[in-house]
């Protein structure tokens, strides 16, 4: 029974997923649920004030306890995923797509076009991100929107540089030379032999970056440069809780732990993908 | 002449490996002679070199009834002793001329490291320059200031040989020293090795996948298959009347300048290396049932040692 594909035919087939794929699948499913239907997962209204229930320690009713206004912290964390995780996803996705296209175009064009495009990248890479984020916040006003813009602007160049390098070295590969002698057109070579080879590294970088973007974003919010109250953005939750961290440790520690674990999960997946070298 | 390197029943097993990389290999090498170790990739030929110089990871199991160098037991020697031995008495030259040099440092700086390790810096400098000239590097004092990328592959290999010999070692192990080089350069380097062996009364161990290459210089040859010695003896006898089907197949498969042209070469079919019986049996055109049952031991057959049940029966093809 032949299962291999011939060129020009889409290569979809089902097979038993590997352990790493279950893990990635569970993560994707979890994120989707948090972003799309947080109401189903959160036991309480994240904004509902209940002064009588303030500073409750974690319990079955309030898994993460309550804050100074009696709001359920677990529900706030669940609803905050839209702000923290959602924004990170947008930042990294936009940066990855734009950066990949930019880098591939630079490598494919070569010569002067390549040099100009890459000088622009260098300029962006030279910016310290905190200073830049503060500048954007100062000019566009504080809020998640300005943080998102600042991070995207600073994030895409690393993809551009990575993909350009990869495409440049791919173009020197023997199998590209061989494809040319077969008579493949430029488009066929790009579509069949170049672009698929960048997927692995882009995917790994994308996953690792999701974790980093989440940390950067919550960090900026923690500093007051990102999301503004009463949004349940995770960095902001921690920043709010730090005033009473000694009396109600859970209000700062548990959301912090969530940020840590989510970021760690992305990094671990990224590392695993890198080691597997996906699809090789 | 007494052997300076002796091995009896040398067996090397990598952790977790199904079978030993080298199994029950014995040989002697004396000063002023050349021993070739020949086999395909995976035959264990490089592992023998690494086992002698004890460059293998400690997790690798090395056993032998005897493994001595200049009368000293290599198996029980401590690390400091081994280091001294590698710095002064046993020199090695590897296949990849570019991989063996650090591209960021000059040739001179790297050769100087070797002199320091052997404790002969700066006294050995003149000898180094003499040796460099000897191996065909002109104006060596100037060339030492160059970085490796300014050298051709052949020149790097020459410099490597000069550096290897400066501490007056008694044993030189060359692992595929010419495989990456052009035909004419390959011949030059082999000739240089041969002359240096003669001049310095070196014991030379030459590891190669190519019987034709070692024929140029080796006085005796070991042929390995699947980690086992299948045939050994004087190189001339080996070429004239190889007793093992594997040796014969290797010789017959290589096109020769004096052979017939445009004919089918007798090529060995691929096959697995087996543990039980003769390792070569699945690929052997003459294998009988007993070959799969009992492992043949080395026996003297017309001037050679051959590990084949059929070695004395007349050949028929």
């Amino acid at each position: 029974m032949t299962v291999w594909q011939v060129p020009g035919v889409a290569a979809w087939r089902l097979r038993r997923p590997r352990a790493a794929e279950w893990w990635v699948g569970a993560t994707v499913f979890g994120i989707a649920a948090l972003l799309l239907v947080p109401g189903w997962l959160a036991p309480h209204d994240p904004y509902a004030l209940a002064v009588s229930e303030r500073f409750q320690a974690p319990s079955v009713a309030h898994p993460f306890g309550t804050d100074d206004a009696g709001r359920d912290i677990f529900s706030r964390v669940v609803h905050g995923a839209r702000y923290s995780l959602g924004t990170s996803l947008i930042v990294v996705s936009v940066a990855a797509v734009f950066g990949t296209a930019y880098g591939a175009v630079a490598a494919w064009s070569g010569g002067l076009v390549d040099r100009i495009l890459m000088r622009v990248v260098d300029v962006f890479l030279a910016f310290p991100y905190l200073v830049f984020a503060m500048a954007i916040a100062a000019s566009l006003g504080r809020g998640l929107g300005s943080t998102l813009i600042a991070l995207v602007v600073l994030w895409w160049p690393s993809y551009a540089r990575m993909v350009r390098g990869q495409v440049l070295s791919l173009l020197k590969d023997q199998h590209i030379k061989a494809a040319r002698t077969l008579g493949a057109s430029g488009g066929q070579i790009l579509r069949w032999h170049v672009v698929p080879h960048t997927y692995d590294q882009v995917t790994v970088r994308y996953t690792l970056d999701l974790g980093q973007a989440l940390v950067a974003l919550t960090g900026l919010s923690f500093l007051g440069l990102g999301a503004q109250p009463p949004s349940p953005e995770w960095g902001l939750l921690i920043a709010d809780a730090k005033q009473y961290a000694l009396t109600a440790w859970w209000a700062a520690v548990l959301p912090g732990l969530v940020v840590f674990l989510v970021a760690l999960n992305f990094m671990a997946i990224g590392d695993r993908l890198r080691r597997d070298g996906t699809g090789r | 002449m007494t052997a300076i390197l002796s091995a009896r029943g040398l067996t090397v097993r990598y952790p977790g490996a199904r079978r030993p990389a080298v199994e029950n290999v014995s040989f002697d090498l004396s000063a002023g002679s050349t021993l070739a170790v020949v086999g395909e990739s995976g035959s264990g030929k490089s592992t023998i070199a690494l086992a002698i110089s004890r460059l293998l990871d400690p997790a690798v199991e090395i056993r032998a009834d005897l493994l001595t160098f200049e009368g000293r037991d290599l198996l029980t020697m401590d690390r400091a002793g081994l280091r001294r031995l590698r710095a002064r008495r046993i020199a090695m030259v590897f296949q990849s001329p570019f991989g063996s040099w650090n591209p960021t440092r000059t040739i001179g700086a790297q050769l100087t490291d070797g002199l320091r390790a052997a404790g002969i810096w700066p006294s050995g400098r003149d000898r180094l320059l003499t040796l460099l000239r000897r191996v065909g590097i002109h104006e060596p004092a100037d060339r030492l200031r160059d970085y490796p990328h300014r050298f051709s592959g052949g020149m790097l290999q020459r410099a490597m040989i000069a550096g290897a010999l400066v501490a007056r070692p008694s044993l030189l192990i060359a692992d595929e020293p010419t495989s990456a080089l052009d035909t004419t350069v390959q011949a030059e380097i082999l000739d240089i090795l041969d002359e240096l062996r003669d001049e310095h009364q070196l014991a030379l161990m030459l590891i190669s996948h190519d019987l034709g290459v070692v024929a140029r210089v080796a006085s005796s040859t070991l042929v390995l298959y699947g980690g086992r010695l299948v045939e050994s003896g004087p190189t001339t006898a080996l070429y004239r009347n190889a007793g093992h089907p594997y040796t014969r197949a290797l010789l017959a498969a290589a096109p020769r300048l004096d052979g017939p042209r445009k004919v089918r070469l007798p090529a060995l079919a691929p096959g697995p290396v087996v543990d039980h019986g003769c390792a070569f049996a699945p690929r052997c055109p003459q294998a009988e049932s007993r070959c799969a049952e009992t492992t043949p031991g080395l026996r003297p057959v017309s001037g050679l040692n051959v590990a084949c049940h059929l070695a004395e029966t007349p050949r028929s093809t």
């Binding site: 011939v6 040319r180 066929q188 069949w192 | 000739d191 300048l257």
Partner: protein, 325 residues
């Protein structure tokens, strides 16, 4: 070999020059190289690294363009082919590479790679392409089930067979084999050489077989071309070149070649630093034991020294009196 009226050459390389200017100094890779391949003939091209033999392959494959000179296929110039019928030329002139694993896309199965030329040239697609691939794999003595594997999952010998199947997919008239057996163990090399001879026999495919190994070239080739430092130093029928070499470099190659006959001690190989490549005169002069003043002053030209046997050496006549073997 029976001698019939010479058929017109399938491929002709005429006085081709190529200089690479990408490095720190310009490198003159080819300085006036000419050779031709007749239909069904195997031409061996032998030389050391830096002799320009791979550049010749790249020019013929249209991967590089000559600075001067002509490459003609079926009496039509290569630029004309590539401009008007690139697919026609690509289908007729195919390549077999040194590293068969590297020459195939590591993310594609063997089947995909062998089918690729069929799809590019719209010869077959879908189920028809699969069927053709299975036939092609069988024709190079591979199990069609290997179509399912990736290049890095099969042995070097199997990969080279698959590479040959891929090159044969379009039924080319000429195969350019650039060091196609150099990376293989001796028994695998023998199998591939047998396969190439079988292809010549069965399909009448012409080949330009490029290698640094003289015994291999001699085994396969009907005629051969010896290159040194970007020039052709000797060419002619294989037996003539190997038995009666008239260029000192060819003789050096013969005496340096691995030779399983230990009693025959070859002469000491000549040594000369590569860096001192002369600008005028014979490029081999610094390494040549026979070089005279004229060799250092004047570029030797190819001269007839036998039937279809030419050499570029001023001392070819003197060399004839020295026995070569």
């Amino acid at each position: 070999m029976t001698k019939t009226a010479d058929p017109p050459p399938l491929l002709e390389v005429r006085d081709v020059h190529k200089t690479f200017t990408t490095g720190p100094r310009p490198v003159r890779a080819l300085r006036g190289v000419s050779l031709s391949v007749r239909p069904g003939e195997i031409v061996g091209l032998v030389g050391e690294s830096g002799s320009g033999k791979s550049t010749v392959a790249n020019l013929i494959l249209g991967l590089e363009h000559p600075d001067a000179g002509d490459i003609r296929y079926q009496d039509r110039a290569l630029p004309d082919w590539l401009a008007r019928s690139a697919r026609g030329y690509r289908g007729a002139v195919q390549a077999v590479f040194q590293d068969p694993v590297q020459a195939m896309d590591s993310r594609k199965t063997i089947g995909w790679s062998v089918a690729e030329p069929l799809v590019i040239h719209r010869v077959a697609r879908g189920a028809a392409a699969r069927e053709r691939v299975a036939d092609l794999l069988r024709s190079v003595h591979l199990d069609p089930a290997l179509a399912d594997r990736y290049p890095q999952q099969i042995s070097g010998g199997q990969a080279q067979r698959a590479g040959i199947a891929r090159a044969l997919a379009l039924e080319p008239a000429l195969l350019v084999c650039d060091e196609a057996v150099s990376a293989l163990d001796v028994s695998v090399q023998a199998q591939i050489l047998n396969l190439l001879l079988e292809i010549q026999d069965r399909l009448g495919t012409a080949m330009l077989f490029i290698s640094h190994a003289l015994p291999v070239v001699r085994h396969l080739a009907d005629s051969m071309v010896v290159m040194y430092a970007g020039t052709v130093v000797e060419q002619g029928p294989t037996e003539a070149v190997c038995q009666a070499a008239r260029h000192p470099y060819t003789r050096l190659l013969i005496s340096s070649s691995p030779h399983p006959a230990p009693d025959r001690k070859p002469g000491r190989a000549a040594t000369a630093p590569r860096e001192q490549m002369p600008v005028t005169g014979c490029r081999f002069a610094p390494r040549c034991p026979l070089a005279v003043d004229r060799c250092r002053a004047e570029d030797p030209v190819l001269r007839q020294v036998g039937t279809a046997h030419t050499t570029a050496c001023w001392r070819a006549e003197d060399l004839a009196t020295v026995t070569s073997r």
